[in-house]
Amino acid sequence: MPVNADAKGKTYPAYEYEVGKEKIREYAHAVGEENPVHFDREQARAAGFRDIPAPPMFAVVYSAGAVGPAVLDPEVGMNFAMMVHGGQEFVWGEPVCAGDTITTDTSVKDIYEKDGRGYYIFESVSRNQDGQQVVRGTWTNIVRGV
């Protein structure tokens, strides 16, 4: 059965996330970040940041609410029992800092079949309150046995 690519190009409502200092601290501790700029406002400002910066991979925290509904969309129709998160890319721009409001737009970038597997590629683009792009994410999910 070929994959249904009808959802290719579909977009989802923008998702807004307010970045907090304590959430950055919690995330930074969980992934083992040790750079004091992620914990101490004075050190962050001394290093040239507007406020405490999030570690780059904090992108998953403010993007999740945007990408989740796309991944779960019945119109995309992934078979979750056979799905794996196959690949991930982030391209970073302006740093994300405590106090920022990040808005993320998500779309279905591509759906195709290769070697009996379905490839479902989602793209998220996140911008801060000044309209600066902070990250572009490409999320690749692979469904076996399509």
Binding site: Y27, A30, P55, P56, A64, H85, Q88, E89, W92, P95
Partner: protein, 125 residues
């Protein structure tokens, strides 16, 4: 000077729980060993994006610690990572251009590659 990446970290037994709380991903395959075994996994497994965060951290560390140095990171997730086993992230420079270096990386637990074909672009002062 050529950039070399080498980072070792051992996630403890409860790391997946802390990462679940920090990231919001409470999929039971990551935090419930009984559930994980019921669906055919050896135990609860690490979040792939946690492992990717270790690759990211290894990169910024190698570039001198500034989180702004990491411009791009792409990874492929393969074998499953598990808690309580050392993760080793290694990488070497492939090319250098326009004040940035491109580094190729893998993350392994013993012989098990949990991230492969990773590529990072790092700004180097």
């Amino acid at each position: 000077m050529s950039v070399k990446v080498d980072l070792k970290v051992t996630p403890d037994k409860y790391l997946p729980h802390r990462y679940a709380g920090a990231s919001g991903d409470f999929n039971p395959i990551h935090i419930d060993p009984d559930f994980a075994r019921q669906v055919g996994l050896p135990s609860n497994i690490l979040h792939g994006l946690y492992s990717m965060a270790q690759v990211a951290r290894a990169c910024t560390h190698a570039a001198g610690g500034d989180p702004r140095s990491l411009r791009r990171l792409s990874v492929q997730f393969r074998g499953m990572g598990v808690p309580e086993q050392e993760i080793r992230v290694t990488g070497k420079e492939r090319e250098s251009r326009d004040g940035a270096v491109v580094v190729e990386l893998v993350a392994e637990q013993g012989d098990n590659q949990i991230i492969r074909n990773a590529e990072a672009e790092l700004a180097i002062e």
